[in-house]
Symmetry: C2
Subunit: 245 residues, 2 copies
Protein backbone atom coordinates (compact mmCIF):
# COMPACT_ATOMS: atom_id res chain seq x y z
CA UNK A 1 0.00 0.00 0.00
CA UNK A 2 1.18 3.48 -0.80
CA UNK A 3 2.04 5.72 2.16
CA UNK A 4 -0.85 7.68 3.63
CA UNK A 5 0.84 11.00 3.01
CA UNK A 6 1.48 12.11 -0.56
CA UNK A 7 4.14 14.69 -1.32
CA UNK A 8 4.25 16.82 -4.48
CA UNK A 9 6.71 19.43 -5.61
CA UNK A 10 5.77 22.53 -7.62
CA UNK A 11 7.99 25.06 -9.34
CA UNK A 12 6.97 28.71 -9.03
CA UNK A 13 6.93 29.97 -12.62
CA UNK A 14 6.87 33.69 -13.38
CA UNK A 15 3.27 33.53 -14.58
CA UNK A 16 1.96 32.32 -11.21
CA UNK A 17 3.51 35.28 -9.38
CA UNK A 18 1.90 38.55 -8.43
CA UNK A 19 3.40 42.04 -8.75
CA UNK A 20 5.58 41.35 -5.70
CA UNK A 21 7.07 38.18 -7.20
CA UNK A 22 5.23 35.81 -4.86
CA UNK A 23 2.90 32.96 -5.79
CA UNK A 24 -0.68 34.15 -5.40
CA UNK A 25 -3.25 32.60 -3.06
CA UNK A 26 -5.29 31.18 -5.99
CA UNK A 27 -2.12 29.44 -7.19
CA UNK A 28 -1.67 27.84 -3.76
CA UNK A 29 -5.31 26.78 -4.23
CA UNK A 30 -4.46 25.23 -7.61
CA UNK A 31 -1.55 23.33 -6.05
CA UNK A 32 -3.93 22.06 -3.34
CA UNK A 33 -6.34 20.75 -5.95
CA UNK A 34 -3.55 19.23 -8.01
CA UNK A 35 -1.98 17.52 -4.97
CA UNK A 36 -5.39 16.18 -3.89
CA UNK A 37 -6.06 14.95 -7.43
CA UNK A 38 -2.74 13.12 -7.66
CA UNK A 39 -2.96 11.67 -4.14
CA UNK A 40 -6.46 10.30 -4.87
CA UNK A 41 -5.54 9.07 -8.32
CA UNK A 42 -2.46 7.15 -7.15
CA UNK A 43 -4.57 5.45 -4.48
CA UNK A 44 -7.39 4.40 -6.78
CA UNK A 45 -10.06 7.02 -6.13
CA UNK A 46 -9.05 9.80 -8.51
CA UNK A 47 -10.74 11.62 -11.38
CA UNK A 48 -10.65 8.63 -13.79
CA UNK A 49 -11.95 6.07 -11.28
CA UNK A 50 -14.68 8.50 -10.18
CA UNK A 51 -15.67 9.24 -13.80
CA UNK A 52 -16.05 5.51 -14.48
CA UNK A 53 -18.70 5.42 -11.75
CA UNK A 54 -20.18 8.68 -13.03
CA UNK A 55 -19.13 10.40 -9.83
CA UNK A 56 -16.87 13.35 -8.97
CA UNK A 57 -15.28 14.91 -5.94
CA UNK A 58 -16.67 18.34 -5.11
CA UNK A 59 -14.94 20.79 -2.81
CA UNK A 60 -17.24 21.84 0.00
CA UNK A 61 -14.97 23.86 2.28
CA UNK A 62 -11.43 25.12 2.10
CA UNK A 63 -9.24 26.90 4.62
CA UNK A 64 -5.69 28.00 3.79
CA UNK A 65 -3.31 29.53 6.33
CA UNK A 66 0.03 30.89 5.14
CA UNK A 67 2.87 32.49 7.07
CA UNK A 68 4.74 33.18 3.84
CA UNK A 69 4.27 32.60 0.11
CA UNK A 70 6.92 31.00 -2.11
CA UNK A 71 8.70 33.37 -4.50
CA UNK A 72 9.57 33.24 -8.17
CA UNK A 73 11.71 30.29 -9.32
CA UNK A 74 11.48 28.56 -5.94
CA UNK A 75 10.03 25.14 -5.25
CA UNK A 76 7.08 24.45 -2.98
CA UNK A 77 6.37 20.99 -1.61
CA UNK A 78 2.76 20.17 -0.82
CA UNK A 79 1.99 17.26 1.48
CA UNK A 80 -1.54 15.93 1.66
CA UNK A 81 -3.33 13.26 3.64
CA UNK A 82 -6.84 12.19 4.66
CA UNK A 83 -7.79 13.18 8.18
CA UNK A 84 -11.25 11.68 8.30
CA UNK A 85 -14.01 10.00 6.30
CA UNK A 86 -17.56 10.28 7.60
CA UNK A 87 -20.53 9.27 5.43
CA UNK A 88 -20.89 12.10 2.92
CA UNK A 89 -17.64 13.93 3.54
CA UNK A 90 -13.90 13.36 3.59
CA UNK A 91 -11.51 15.75 5.28
CA UNK A 92 -8.17 16.27 3.62
CA UNK A 93 -5.27 18.29 5.06
CA UNK A 94 -2.21 19.91 3.52
CA UNK A 95 1.20 21.14 4.66
CA UNK A 96 3.31 23.57 2.62
CA UNK A 97 7.08 23.33 2.81
CA UNK A 98 9.49 25.87 1.33
CA UNK A 99 12.84 25.25 -0.38
CA UNK A 100 14.68 25.15 2.96
CA UNK A 101 12.33 22.53 4.37
CA UNK A 102 10.49 25.03 6.55
CA UNK A 103 6.73 24.71 7.03
CA UNK A 104 5.18 27.91 5.68
CA UNK A 105 1.50 27.01 5.89
CA UNK A 106 -1.31 24.49 6.17
CA UNK A 107 -4.73 23.92 4.68
CA UNK A 108 -7.85 21.96 5.47
CA UNK A 109 -10.50 20.90 3.00
CA UNK A 110 -13.80 19.05 3.06
CA UNK A 111 -14.94 17.12 -0.01
CA UNK A 112 -18.19 15.43 -1.00
CA UNK A 113 -18.48 12.75 -3.67
CA UNK A 114 -21.45 13.45 -5.88
CA UNK A 115 -23.36 11.44 -8.45
CA UNK A 116 -22.82 13.30 -11.73
CA UNK A 117 -26.35 12.56 -12.95
CA UNK A 118 -28.35 13.52 -9.88
CA UNK A 119 -25.68 15.89 -8.47
CA UNK A 120 -26.52 14.41 -5.07
CA UNK A 121 -23.93 13.31 -2.50
CA UNK A 122 -22.94 9.64 -2.24
CA UNK A 123 -22.38 7.83 1.07
CA UNK A 124 -18.60 7.44 0.82
CA UNK A 125 -18.28 4.97 3.71
CA UNK A 126 -20.58 2.53 1.89
CA UNK A 127 -19.41 3.29 -1.62
CA UNK A 128 -15.64 3.38 -1.04
CA UNK A 129 -14.96 1.65 2.32
CA UNK A 130 -11.25 1.31 1.42
CA UNK A 131 -10.85 5.08 1.79
CA UNK A 132 -10.77 4.61 5.58
CA UNK A 133 -7.51 2.66 5.25
CA UNK A 134 -5.80 5.86 4.18
CA UNK A 135 -6.85 7.95 7.18
CA UNK A 136 -3.74 9.24 8.90
CA UNK A 137 -4.43 9.55 12.61
CA UNK A 138 -0.87 10.52 13.55
CA UNK A 139 -0.34 13.54 11.34
CA UNK A 140 -1.47 16.85 12.77
CA UNK A 141 -2.85 19.85 10.97
CA UNK A 142 -2.39 22.75 13.39
CA UNK A 143 -5.04 25.10 12.04
CA UNK A 144 -8.57 25.53 13.32
CA UNK A 145 -11.45 23.62 11.81
CA UNK A 146 -13.51 25.83 9.57
CA UNK A 147 -15.96 27.97 11.52
CA UNK A 148 -19.26 29.20 10.14
CA UNK A 149 -19.10 32.15 7.77
CA UNK A 150 -22.02 34.52 8.13
CA UNK A 151 -23.84 35.93 5.11
CA UNK A 152 -23.18 39.56 4.22
CA UNK A 153 -26.40 41.56 4.30
CA UNK A 154 -27.47 45.17 3.83
CA UNK A 155 -24.51 46.31 1.76
CA UNK A 156 -24.24 47.23 -1.91
CA UNK A 157 -22.26 44.85 -4.15
CA UNK A 158 -18.58 45.81 -4.50
CA UNK A 159 -18.06 44.14 -7.84
CA UNK A 160 -19.85 41.89 -10.28
CA UNK A 161 -18.74 39.47 -12.96
CA UNK A 162 -20.17 37.02 -15.45
CA UNK A 163 -18.93 33.44 -15.46
CA UNK A 164 -16.91 33.03 -18.66
CA UNK A 165 -14.87 30.46 -20.61
CA UNK A 166 -11.78 30.83 -18.41
CA UNK A 167 -13.84 30.22 -15.25
CA UNK A 168 -15.15 26.81 -16.32
CA UNK A 169 -13.13 23.72 -15.43
CA UNK A 170 -12.76 20.17 -16.70
CA UNK A 171 -15.91 19.18 -14.76
CA UNK A 172 -17.88 21.80 -16.74
CA UNK A 173 -18.61 23.89 -13.66
CA UNK A 174 -17.13 27.04 -12.28
CA UNK A 175 -13.61 26.24 -11.07
CA UNK A 176 -13.49 26.36 -7.23
CA UNK A 177 -10.29 28.37 -7.30
CA UNK A 178 -11.60 30.94 -9.80
CA UNK A 179 -14.11 32.07 -7.15
CA UNK A 180 -11.12 32.86 -4.92
CA UNK A 181 -9.38 34.79 -7.71
CA UNK A 182 -12.49 36.95 -8.20
CA UNK A 183 -12.82 37.48 -4.43
CA UNK A 184 -9.29 38.73 -3.91
CA UNK A 185 -9.56 40.92 -7.00
CA UNK A 186 -11.79 43.25 -4.99
CA UNK A 187 -8.72 44.54 -3.13
CA UNK A 188 -6.53 47.39 -4.22
CA UNK A 189 -2.83 46.70 -4.95
CA UNK A 190 -1.93 48.97 -2.03
CA UNK A 191 -3.55 46.52 0.39
CA UNK A 192 -1.20 43.76 -0.81
CA UNK A 193 1.78 46.09 -0.37
CA UNK A 194 0.93 46.67 3.29
CA UNK A 195 -0.19 43.21 4.37
CA UNK A 196 -0.60 39.63 3.24
CA UNK A 197 -3.49 37.19 3.30
CA UNK A 198 -2.73 35.12 6.37
CA UNK A 199 -5.86 33.01 6.29
CA UNK A 200 -8.47 32.42 3.64
CA UNK A 201 -11.59 30.42 4.39
CA UNK A 202 -14.23 29.45 1.87
CA UNK A 203 -17.56 27.68 2.10
CA UNK A 204 -19.00 26.49 -1.21
CA UNK A 205 -22.79 26.49 -1.17
CA UNK A 206 -23.98 26.19 -4.77
CA UNK A 207 -22.44 25.72 -8.19
CA UNK A 208 -21.98 28.57 -10.64
CA UNK A 209 -22.46 27.87 -14.33
CA UNK A 210 -21.49 29.54 -17.60
CA UNK A 211 -23.13 32.93 -18.10
CA UNK A 212 -24.20 33.35 -14.45
CA UNK A 213 -23.99 36.93 -13.28
CA UNK A 214 -22.41 36.92 -9.83
CA UNK A 215 -22.08 39.77 -7.38
CA UNK A 216 -19.62 40.21 -4.53
CA UNK A 217 -20.77 41.67 -1.22
CA UNK A 218 -17.98 42.83 1.06
CA UNK A 219 -18.00 43.49 4.77
CA UNK A 220 -14.86 44.61 6.59
CA UNK A 221 -15.70 43.00 9.92
CA UNK A 222 -12.53 44.29 11.61
CA UNK A 223 -9.26 45.95 10.61
CA UNK A 224 -7.80 42.61 9.61
CA UNK A 225 -10.86 40.59 8.73
CA UNK A 226 -13.10 40.81 5.72
CA UNK A 227 -16.11 38.75 4.67
CA UNK A 228 -17.04 38.37 1.01
CA UNK A 229 -20.31 36.80 -0.06
CA UNK A 230 -20.56 35.75 -3.73
CA UNK A 231 -24.22 35.74 -4.79
CA UNK A 232 -26.35 34.90 -7.78
CA UNK A 233 -29.39 37.07 -7.18
CA UNK A 234 -30.31 36.45 -3.54
CA UNK A 235 -28.58 33.06 -3.34
CA UNK A 236 -25.10 32.71 -1.83
CA UNK A 237 -22.85 30.68 -4.13
CA UNK A 238 -19.89 30.82 -1.76
CA UNK A 239 -18.83 32.75 1.32
CA UNK A 240 -15.30 33.64 2.27
CA UNK A 241 -13.43 35.13 5.20
CA UNK A 242 -10.05 36.77 4.72
CA UNK A 243 -7.68 37.39 7.62
CA UNK A 244 -4.86 39.80 6.88
CA UNK A 245 -1.48 40.00 8.60
Amino acid sequence: MLPKVGSYKFHIESYVCDFQGKATLPIIGNFILQAATMHASERGFGYDEMSESDAAWVLSRLSIQMNDYPGYDQFLTVETWIEDVARFFTQRCFRFIDKEGKTIGHARSIWAAIDMQTRRPIDIEVWRPELKNFIDTEKECPIDKLAKILPVRNVEPTMGYSVRYSDIDINKHMNSIKYIEHVINIFDLDVFKKKMIHKFEMVYLAEGGFGDKLKLYRLDSSEDECLVDTKRGEESICRSRITWK
Copy 2:
Protein backbone atom coordinates in the same frame (compact mmCIF):
# COMPACT_ATOMS: atom_id res chain seq x y z
CA MET B 1 28.18 27.37 -25.31
CA LEU B 2 24.68 26.09 -24.72
CA PRO B 3 22.75 24.84 -27.77
CA LYS B 4 20.81 27.47 -29.65
CA VAL B 5 17.52 25.67 -29.17
CA GLY B 6 16.14 25.28 -25.66
CA SER B 7 13.63 22.54 -24.90
CA TYR B 8 11.23 22.60 -21.93
CA LYS B 9 8.64 20.10 -20.80
CA PHE B 10 5.34 21.03 -19.17
CA HIS B 11 2.78 18.83 -17.47
CA ILE B 12 -0.87 19.62 -18.19
CA GLU B 13 -2.43 19.90 -14.74
CA SER B 14 -6.21 19.82 -14.31
CA TYR B 15 -6.33 23.52 -13.42
CA VAL B 16 -4.90 24.60 -16.78
CA CYS B 17 -7.62 22.74 -18.70
CA ASP B 18 -10.85 24.09 -20.08
CA PHE B 19 -14.28 22.42 -19.92
CA GLN B 20 -13.22 20.03 -22.69
CA GLY B 21 -10.14 18.85 -20.79
CA LYS B 22 -7.65 20.60 -23.08
CA ALA B 23 -5.00 23.17 -22.11
CA THR B 24 -6.33 26.64 -22.93
CA LEU B 25 -4.70 29.06 -25.35
CA PRO B 26 -3.64 31.43 -22.51
CA ILE B 27 -1.87 28.47 -20.89
CA ILE B 28 0.04 27.82 -24.12
CA GLY B 29 0.90 31.53 -23.89
CA ASN B 30 2.17 31.06 -20.34
CA PHE B 31 4.33 28.13 -21.45
CA ILE B 32 5.73 30.33 -24.24
CA LEU B 33 6.68 33.03 -21.75
CA GLN B 34 8.14 30.52 -19.34
CA ALA B 35 10.20 28.78 -22.07
CA ALA B 36 11.46 32.17 -23.34
CA THR B 37 12.33 33.20 -19.78
CA MET B 38 14.29 30.02 -19.08
CA HIS B 39 16.04 30.01 -22.46
CA ALA B 40 17.16 33.64 -21.95
CA SER B 41 18.13 33.08 -18.33
CA GLU B 42 20.28 30.02 -19.05
CA ARG B 43 22.11 32.00 -21.76
CA GLY B 44 22.84 35.04 -19.63
CA PHE B 45 20.17 37.52 -20.72
CA GLY B 46 17.23 36.55 -18.51
CA TYR B 47 15.10 38.36 -15.98
CA ASP B 48 17.85 38.65 -13.33
CA GLU B 49 20.55 39.89 -15.73
CA MET B 50 18.13 42.36 -17.25
CA SER B 51 17.00 43.61 -13.82
CA GLU B 52 20.63 44.25 -12.86
CA SER B 53 20.83 46.67 -15.79
CA ASP B 54 17.41 48.08 -14.92
CA ALA B 55 16.03 46.66 -18.16
CA ALA B 56 13.30 44.18 -19.07
CA TRP B 57 12.06 42.24 -22.06
CA VAL B 58 8.68 43.37 -23.30
CA LEU B 59 6.52 41.33 -25.63
CA SER B 60 5.61 43.32 -28.71
CA ARG B 61 3.92 40.75 -30.96
CA LEU B 62 2.81 37.17 -30.57
CA SER B 63 1.38 34.69 -33.03
CA ILE B 64 0.37 31.16 -31.99
CA GLN B 65 -0.82 28.51 -34.43
CA MET B 66 -2.10 25.20 -33.07
CA ASN B 67 -3.40 22.12 -34.85
CA ASP B 68 -4.26 20.50 -31.54
CA TYR B 69 -4.06 21.33 -27.82
CA PRO B 70 -2.54 18.96 -25.25
CA GLY B 71 -5.01 17.26 -22.93
CA TYR B 72 -5.17 16.72 -19.18
CA ASP B 73 -2.25 14.84 -17.60
CA GLN B 74 -0.22 14.87 -20.83
CA PHE B 75 3.17 16.45 -21.35
CA LEU B 76 3.90 19.24 -23.81
CA THR B 77 7.43 20.01 -24.95
CA VAL B 78 8.15 23.58 -25.98
CA GLU B 79 11.23 24.31 -28.08
CA THR B 80 12.39 27.88 -28.46
CA TRP B 81 15.16 29.64 -30.38
CA ILE B 82 16.13 33.12 -31.59
CA GLU B 83 15.42 33.70 -35.26
CA ASP B 84 16.75 37.22 -35.56
CA VAL B 85 18.11 40.22 -33.66
CA ALA B 86 17.81 43.63 -35.28
CA ARG B 87 18.44 46.83 -33.33
CA PHE B 88 15.39 47.23 -31.11
CA PHE B 89 13.78 43.85 -31.59
CA THR B 90 14.52 40.16 -31.26
CA GLN B 91 12.42 37.51 -32.93
CA ARG B 92 11.90 34.29 -31.05
CA CYS B 93 10.17 31.17 -32.38
CA PHE B 94 8.57 28.16 -30.71
CA ARG B 95 7.61 24.62 -31.64
CA PHE B 96 5.11 22.54 -29.64
CA ILE B 97 5.55 18.79 -29.46
CA ASP B 98 3.00 16.39 -28.00
CA LYS B 99 3.60 13.23 -25.94
CA GLU B 100 4.10 11.13 -29.10
CA GLY B 101 6.73 13.49 -30.46
CA LYS B 102 4.35 14.99 -33.02
CA THR B 103 4.54 18.72 -33.80
CA ILE B 104 1.17 20.21 -32.89
CA GLY B 105 1.90 23.89 -33.35
CA HIS B 106 4.30 26.79 -33.65
CA ALA B 107 4.56 30.35 -32.43
CA ARG B 108 6.44 33.51 -33.31
CA SER B 109 7.14 36.41 -31.01
CA ILE B 110 8.84 39.79 -31.21
CA TRP B 111 10.42 41.29 -28.11
CA ALA B 112 11.85 44.69 -27.26
CA ALA B 113 14.29 45.37 -24.43
CA ILE B 114 13.24 48.47 -22.53
CA ASP B 115 14.91 50.69 -19.98
CA MET B 116 12.80 50.32 -16.83
CA GLN B 117 13.26 53.97 -15.86
CA THR B 118 12.47 55.67 -19.16
CA ARG B 119 10.37 52.74 -20.54
CA ARG B 120 12.11 53.40 -23.86
CA PRO B 121 13.57 50.67 -26.10
CA ILE B 122 17.28 49.86 -25.96
CA ASP B 123 19.40 49.11 -29.06
CA ILE B 124 19.95 45.40 -28.44
CA GLU B 125 22.69 44.98 -31.05
CA VAL B 126 24.84 47.55 -29.26
CA TRP B 127 23.80 46.66 -25.74
CA ARG B 128 23.95 42.84 -25.97
CA PRO B 129 26.02 41.98 -29.08
CA GLU B 130 26.45 38.38 -27.83
CA LEU B 131 22.77 37.72 -28.51
CA LYS B 132 23.55 37.37 -32.19
CA ASN B 133 25.63 34.26 -31.43
CA PHE B 134 22.44 32.48 -30.49
CA ILE B 135 20.57 33.14 -33.74
CA ASP B 136 19.60 29.83 -35.28
CA THR B 137 19.60 30.18 -39.06
CA GLU B 138 18.88 26.51 -39.73
CA LYS B 139 15.72 26.00 -37.76
CA GLU B 140 12.49 26.83 -39.57
CA CYS B 141 9.28 28.18 -38.15
CA PRO B 142 6.63 27.34 -40.77
CA ILE B 143 4.05 29.97 -39.85
CA ASP B 144 3.56 33.36 -41.49
CA LYS B 145 5.18 36.44 -40.08
CA LEU B 146 2.70 38.57 -38.21
CA ALA B 147 0.62 40.73 -40.56
CA LYS B 148 -0.87 44.06 -39.58
CA ILE B 149 -4.01 43.95 -37.47
CA LEU B 150 -6.48 46.70 -38.29
CA PRO B 151 -8.23 48.68 -35.57
CA VAL B 152 -11.88 47.91 -34.94
CA ARG B 153 -14.03 51.00 -35.47
CA ASN B 154 -17.70 51.91 -35.42
CA VAL B 155 -18.88 49.08 -33.19
CA GLU B 156 -20.12 49.07 -29.61
CA PRO B 157 -17.84 47.42 -27.01
CA THR B 158 -18.66 43.74 -26.43
CA MET B 159 -17.29 43.60 -22.92
CA GLY B 160 -15.36 45.69 -20.46
CA TYR B 161 -13.15 44.95 -17.49
CA SER B 162 -11.00 46.72 -14.93
CA VAL B 163 -7.38 45.69 -14.52
CA ARG B 164 -7.17 43.96 -11.13
CA TYR B 165 -4.69 42.25 -8.81
CA SER B 166 -4.71 38.96 -10.73
CA ASP B 167 -3.91 40.78 -14.00
CA ILE B 168 -0.68 42.35 -12.77
CA ASP B 169 2.56 40.46 -13.21
CA ILE B 170 5.99 40.38 -11.61
CA ASN B 171 7.02 43.42 -13.75
CA LYS B 172 4.14 45.40 -12.18
CA HIS B 173 2.29 45.75 -15.47
CA MET B 174 -0.64 43.96 -16.97
CA ASN B 175 0.44 40.41 -17.80
CA SER B 176 0.66 39.96 -21.60
CA ILE B 177 -1.20 36.68 -21.43
CA LYS B 178 -4.03 38.04 -19.28
CA TYR B 179 -5.05 40.27 -22.22
CA ILE B 180 -5.48 37.06 -24.23
CA GLU B 181 -7.57 35.46 -21.46
CA HIS B 182 -9.92 38.47 -21.45
CA VAL B 183 -10.11 38.46 -25.26
CA ILE B 184 -11.14 34.82 -25.56
CA ASN B 185 -13.60 35.24 -22.71
CA ILE B 186 -15.87 37.17 -25.10
CA PHE B 187 -16.83 33.88 -26.79
CA ASP B 188 -19.65 31.63 -25.75
CA LEU B 189 -18.88 28.06 -24.62
CA ASP B 190 -20.83 26.78 -27.64
CA VAL B 191 -18.26 28.31 -29.99
CA PHE B 192 -15.51 26.24 -28.34
CA LYS B 193 -17.63 23.11 -28.70
CA LYS B 194 -17.93 23.59 -32.47
CA LYS B 195 -14.45 24.81 -33.37
CA MET B 196 -11.00 25.52 -31.96
CA ILE B 197 -8.69 28.52 -32.08
CA HIS B 198 -6.33 27.60 -34.89
CA LYS B 199 -4.39 30.85 -34.91
CA PHE B 200 -4.16 33.71 -32.45
CA GLU B 201 -2.24 36.86 -33.31
CA MET B 202 -1.63 39.73 -30.95
CA VAL B 203 0.00 43.14 -31.34
CA TYR B 204 0.81 44.92 -28.08
CA LEU B 205 0.64 48.70 -28.46
CA ALA B 206 0.55 50.19 -24.97
CA GLU B 207 0.78 48.98 -21.39
CA GLY B 208 -2.24 48.58 -19.16
CA GLY B 209 -1.89 49.42 -15.49
CA PHE B 210 -3.81 48.63 -12.31
CA GLY B 211 -7.29 50.13 -12.24
CA ASP B 212 -7.45 50.85 -16.00
CA LYS B 213 -10.89 50.34 -17.43
CA LEU B 214 -10.49 48.48 -20.71
CA LYS B 215 -13.10 47.77 -23.35
CA LEU B 216 -13.17 45.06 -26.00
CA TYR B 217 -14.38 45.85 -29.51
CA ARG B 218 -15.19 42.81 -31.62
CA LEU B 219 -15.53 42.49 -35.38
CA ASP B 220 -16.33 39.15 -37.00
CA SER B 221 -14.46 39.78 -40.24
CA SER B 222 -15.47 36.41 -41.72
CA GLU B 223 -17.05 33.18 -40.57
CA ASP B 224 -13.74 31.97 -39.17
CA GLU B 225 -11.95 35.21 -38.41
CA CYS B 226 -12.54 37.68 -35.65
CA LEU B 227 -10.73 40.87 -34.70
CA VAL B 228 -10.72 42.13 -31.10
CA ASP B 229 -9.41 45.56 -30.21
CA THR B 230 -8.70 46.18 -26.51
CA LYS B 231 -8.95 49.90 -25.78
CA ARG B 232 -8.48 52.33 -22.91
CA GLY B 233 -10.74 55.18 -23.98
CA GLU B 234 -9.83 55.82 -27.62
CA GLU B 235 -6.37 54.26 -27.36
CA SER B 236 -5.72 50.70 -28.53
CA ILE B 237 -3.80 48.77 -25.88
CA CYS B 238 -3.58 45.61 -27.98
CA ARG B 239 -5.18 44.18 -31.10
CA SER B 240 -5.82 40.55 -31.82
CA ARG B 241 -6.97 38.38 -34.68
CA ILE B 242 -8.46 34.95 -34.04
CA THR B 243 -8.72 32.32 -36.77
CA TRP B 244 -11.04 29.41 -35.97
CA LYS B 245 -10.92 25.91 -37.40
